[in-house]
Structures are given as C-alpha cells and as structure tokens.
C-alpha cells in the first residue's frame, strides 16, 4: 500500500498496456511506488462528451470512492485528468470529497514536475521527436502555455523530454493545433476529424519527426491510425514510454 493511486484510462488498459507499465516503471525509478486499485474502469468522459450526464455520473462517483483513500492520484492522460479535475463538478453536487479527490488527481508529467519536483530525467533518447500538445493537457490543465494567450512561455512536458541526452524536436508550423481526435467527435464528425489529423501528421513530418509523442494516447491512437493506414513511416510513443525507456 502506497499513498499514490494509479489511474489507467480504460482504453490504455485495453489497447496500450505498455503505456501503463511504462508509467509504473517511471514512477518507481523516481522512488514513487504506486498502487493500482482494480475496481477502477473509466473516468466517464466518453459518456459525458456524448451528452449523457446520467450515464457519466455513476462513473464519476465510483472514481471518487475508489481514489478517496490515496494522497495523490496519477494518470498518464491529460484528457482523463481534465475530466476529473474540471468536469466532475458539472456532474456532481459540490462536496468536500469532490474537492479533495479532484484536487489531488494529477496528469503524469504534471505530477513528476510539480509534486515530485523532478525537473530532469537521466537517460538518452537520440531521436527527433514531434511533441503533440494535447488540448486538454494544454488548455485545461495548463501543462504549457497555449499559443492564444499572452503569458510567459511554459512547457512542462517538453521540459522533461529536453533533459534526455541526444533528443531533438521537430519544430511545428502550428505548435498546438488540435489533432482532431475529440472522443465522440472522431466518429461523429469523421471527415473533419481525419482532415485535422492528416494536417497535424503532415506538420510533424515536415518538422522531421521520427517519433511522435504526447501525454494522451488517444490523440496518438488517432494519428497512428491515420499514419498506418497511409503506411507513413513514423513511430508513436507515449511520453511515459520515452521517459521510462530512456532512463533504463
């Protein structure tokens, strides 16, 4: 039993177990063992975004009761973390439990930088990386400064990646445009979703990316789906995989 609970998004649990394992490995390397309560399933965002608050609400309640006992909750997804932190209050009445659990839920990089106080990860990653700024991590969690705002420059994720030896970055024409995933949007507005994804992919390739990374596997799943259909030779890796792998 540790005081850090790990929340693994449902689609990561099912489709990208290696991202969950990399998250565990990275945190263990930073002397932060985690506990994975098996009652967890999903934060409820897919139902909430589909317009069904009734269906999302019990999942929000379950999340609160499952993670109540931890000091921190860490999740390798900006979007699911943003759901908990910003949108549970649309679903549930105000309560001390809601306040407490939403305030202690962190996205992985945010947790590493802000709570563990780690600015540098030892290791090497000699590749040119395209860092995809996922929208909810950027504009809801503020892991970096969004291009629309007149605020001091900030980029917690790139900061961590930059500490790896040999890493280079693909510089993008549009540094934080949406990839077009958007959950239900990806199928409900399939044409625009894919057009956005292809444009984002093209921007990363123009910047010379060998590997495209980000804090949200959902954005990467969409981009990877487009890239592999088009047989585009570019690799995808969640930030946790790069950080955990490089430190090995």
């Amino acid at each position: 039993m540790t005081d850090v609970g790990l929340f693994i998004p449902c689609y990561v649990d099912q489709c990208y177990p290696e991202v969950g394992l990399a998250t565990v490995k990275l945190l263990e390397r930073l002397d932060c063992p985690v506990d994975f309560p098996e009652a967890q399933t999903c934060c409820g965002q897919p139902m909430g975004n589909a317009g069904n608050a009734e269906a999302a609400r019990p999942l929000a309640e379950r999340y609160l009761s499952i993670f109540e006992r931890y000091r921190y909750v860490v999740c390798p997804s900006g979007s699911c973390t943003a759901m908990v932190r910003h949108h549970y209050r649309d679903l549930l009445p105000p309560s001390p439990l809601l306040e407490a659990v939403t305030a202690k839920t962190y996205e992985l990089c945010e947790f590493v930088v802000d709570v563990l106080g780690v600015a540098r990860i030892a290791g090497a990653y000699p590749h040119r990386v395209g860092l995809h700024q996922s929208c909810h991590a950027l504009r809801e969690l503020r892991l970096g400064s969004a291009s629309e705002l007149v605020v001091p420059h900030l980029d917690k994720v790139r900061g961590l990646l930059s500490s790896l030896e040999g890493i280079r970055f693909a510089e993008l024409q549009r540094k934080d445009e949406c990839c077009g995933f958007g959950g239900v949007f990806s199928v409900g507005e399939e044409a625009v979703s894919c057009a956005m994804g292809k444009d984002r992919l093209a921007d990363h390739l123009l910047g010379g990316a060998d590997v495209i990374t980000g804090v949200d596997m959902s954005c990467l799943m969409h981009l990877q789906g487009l890239a592999s259909r088009a047989k585009t030779p570019v690799r995808f890796a969640h930030v946790a995989e790069i950080l955990a792998g490089a430190a090995a």
């Binding site: 990561v12 069904n52 379950r62 077009g180 990806s186």
Partner: protein, 454 residues
C-alpha cells in the same frame, strides 16, 4: 450524421478548397496573435472585459432604461422589438411613414438574424448591402459564412465572375484592387441615391446614450451621413455602462477580429445630424431567454469579433455555411440551441472541444465548456440521437462493473485479433474508414500488472 457533419464531409471532400479556406483563416489567426502579443496587459484586458460584461448583464434592464433616457435626450428615437418579426415591422414602419424605398445597409449580423433584407424586398424596398463582403454574398444570393469576413468562402476568381455578371467588370478579371475599385464606384452611386441608411451597433453606452459603430470601409459613415434618415439596430447585449469602458473593448475588438490595432473607422453617434432623423431599434429576439439561463448567459458577452471562428480547426475545415445558422462557429453553436434546441442539436457536437476558442475569446466566454454543457442539456431533453444515448447507457452499465468490463474488454480484443479484416472494417465502422483500429493485445494492463506483482 448530424446536418453539420454531412455538410462538413462535403466541404472536406474538396481537399484543395478546404486547405485554402483553412490557410486563409489561419493567416487571420496569426495576424491576431502578432497584434495581441504587442499588448503586454492583454490577459488583464480580457479579464476586465469579462467582468464589465458580467456586471452589465447582471443589471441589464436598468442599463437599458438609462440608455434609453439618455439617447432620447440626444434626439434619438428609441424603438423596442421583442423578436425578429417586430424588428422588421419597426424598420418597415419607419420607411413607409416617410415613403423611403432605397436603403443602404452596413454590416449588421442582427439584421441577418432577423432576415431583414428579404422582408424589406418583399415590401418593395431596394436594399443594398454596402460592406464589400456582404455585397458579394448579396449578389451571389448567399448568406455570410463568417460574421466579420462574410465572403471568406469565395475565391477572388469567383468574385471576379460575379462582378463581371453584375457590375460589368472585365471578363476573367480577378485582381482584388481592380474588383474593389469597381465595387467602390458601384456602391458610391447607391449611397448618393439612397434615402435611408441602416447600420448595426458595436457598443451602446448607457451613461451617454451614444453608440459606436466599428468598420474598416467607412460604409457605415456614408450610409449614416448621406441619407436624411439613419436607422441603427442593436441586440440588448451591446450595452456597456460608461464611455470609459470603450477603452477596454475597442482595444480588444479589432485585434481579436483581424489583427488590426483598431478598426479604420470607430464612429460615435450622439443624436441625429442637423435636419436628419436617427432611429435606434433595440432587439431581444431570444436574448432574455439566454440571460435567464445561469449556464449560458455568459454567451451574451460576445462582442462578435469572430476570433473563435478563425481559430476553430473545425470551422476552418468545414466552412461557415456548414453550421446552418446565422452565426456559425463555436459561438454560433452555443447561441443557436438556445433558440431552437431540436434544429441545432448537432452543433454542440461540431467541435473537438479543443478549447482554442475559449483561450482566444477576448471576453473570456468558456466556449468549449459551454458546448459540452449544451451536449448534456440536449441529451437530457432527449434531443441527441437515440443510438448515442443508448450506447452511453450500455457503456456506463458495463463500466460500473469491473468484472463485466474485464470480460467485455477481453472479448472485444479477441474479436479484433480474430475476425477477418473485411468484417472489422465494415462501412458502419466510422473510425476505420480512414484509420486503422488500435492494437488489441492479448493481455490488458491490469492483467500484466497483477502478474508482475506475483
């Protein structure tokens, strides 16, 4: 598919045009970024503007009455209109009483919302839109596709053809300067012949009774100054308390809209010109209903800069007409369902919820959050598709039961590994039309984590 998704798919199918439209608007967004970067106190200005609007909306009735008193003192005739029909009737009444039949109009999204042009034309009034973009869409018998750049969907070659047909410019001419010059000559004649001018209103000031119109072409000024009668139309939300508040909004408006420090013309009207008449029509048309909604009243803070459209990755790739509403884009998708939830139930879903609109908005409307809340409200009212509602309920049922979730997950992954490709990628799999499905590993994270612990 929602009507927006259908129209958007058709727009995206013309890839070259879609990219052209995307780049044209992204260019405006970049100009906006450069302009706001030169204002170090930009975020403070946004905060102040949001506070001013929230305050004004919290006592809108009082400010409207104060404004009416002061405007009347200045010699403005104030009319009230509860809806579009009444607005149109008021305008027609003013024209009929005076026998006015040639109206020049500068840009007003409110009159678009009220469908004034068609109404007046039916009653024998000659209506000429004098904003260049609006004139283009009027000649093409279309509606504006963007609130600030009404003809942004048209290429210069298409405008050349349109002008050749209507204004007798040279065939094949598409030089913007030449075409603009032709429009200028054509419009000047109309201005001189007009007997009434109609303008919109950007800001109405309660303490002075004056109002402000911002344009880049000077067409509002010609329309308000040449004919004897000037009619201005405004929604109730255009009000600000004090003249000094303009200092906040004028700095935000043009930078957000086009990246200019200020519009070419910022005209202040304080009563009719000597010998003339000035009428002001103040319109509700659903705005009180929005004001009554604790969730959505913030949308009334909108100053119609269009920045949310320029930044929206969906708008840029689907075109303004895909929204099927007078005001398109993120703000339009927030406003429209308030008027007709059934008709516009698909618009809050025409967004990836990326939040760029929220961060670009000069008055800090939480646009993407508003869209999410609309989805849930429309869902609760049963206005979202049945399939979507059922899928969410089934999903929720499974996800509330960890063992069932594990079983369903295992079965789904097994199916993805074992089923033939043709079956997995049936046409009803919208994900798979252009994208590969995600991997389906034999063991989930939780199975591997549990094993590692043992």
């Amino acid at each position: 598919m929602t009507p927006h998704a259908q129209r958007a798919a058709a727009y995206v199918a013309d890839t070259a045009r879609m990219h052209w439209h995307d780049k044209a608007l992204w260019h405006v967004r970049q100009k906006r970024d450069a302009a706001v970067a030169s204002v170090p106190e930009w975020e403070a200005l946004r905060t102040q503007a949001a506070a001013l609007k929230a305050h004004t909306l919290s006592r809108l009735a009082e400010y409207l009455e104060e404004f009416e008193r002061n405007a009347t003192k200045l010699g403005v005739v104030v009319h009230w209109a509860v809806d579009a029909e009444e607005h149109n009737a008021v305008v027609l009444g003013i024209l009929k009483e005076r026998g006015l039949v040639r109206l020049v109009k500068s840009k007003s999204m409110l009159t678009e919302e009220c469908h004034l042009n068609g109404f007046l034309e039916k009653h024998g009034v000659d209506v000429i839109d004098t904003d260049l973009g609006e004139r283009i869409v009027q000649l093409a018998q279309e509606t504006p596709s963007h609130i600030v750049l009404p003809a942004i969907h048209k290429k210069k070659e298409e405008i050349g053809e349109l002008f050749h047909e209507h204004l007798h410019t040279e065939s094949g001419a598409s030089d913007p300067k030449y075409l603009t010059e032709a429009a200028r000559g054509h419009l000047r004649e109309r201005f001189l012949a007009a007997d009434v001018g109609l303008t919109g209103v950007n800001f109405a000031i309660a303490e002075t009774g004056g109002f402000v119109v911002c344009t880049n072409e000077g067409n509002a000024d010609l329309g308000a100054s040449l004919p004897r009668v000037h009619i201005a139309a405004m929604g109730v939300e255009k009000l600000i308390p004090r003249a000094e508040d303009l200092a906040v909004f004028v700095r935000l408006l043009a930078r957000s809209a086009t990246g200019q420090p200020v519009t070419s013309y910022t005209s202040h009207f304080h009563g009719p010109r000597p010998g003339g008449e000035l009428h002001l029509v103040i319109v509700d048309n659903g705005r009180s209903a929005l004001l009554a909604s604790a969730t959505h009243r913030r949308a009334l803070a909108c100053i119609r800069c269009g920045a949310c459209m320029n930044t929206c990755p969906v708008f840029r790739r689907s075109g303004g007409h895909s929204y099927g509403a007078t005001v398109p884009g993120p703000i339009g998708s927030v406003l429209a369902p308030s008027g007709d939830g059934r008709r516009y139930a698909g618009l809050p879903f025409a967004s990836s919820l990326c939040g760029s609109c929220t961060d670009v908005c000069p008055v800090k409307i939480d646009l993407h959050h508003q869209l999410l809340l609309w989805r849930q409200e429309l869902g609760a009212e049963g206005l979202t598709p049945l399939g979507k509602r059922l899928a969410a309920r089934v999903g929720s049922f499974v996800l509330q039961r960890p063992r069932l979730y594990r079983l369903v997950g295992w079965l789904a992954r097994a199916a993805m590994r074992l089923l033939p490709r043709a079956l997995l990628y049936l046409p009803l799999n919208a994900w798979g039309r252009q994208r590969e499905l995600p991997p389906a590993p034999a063991r989930s994270f939780r199975a591997q984590f549990r094993k590692a612990l043992k």
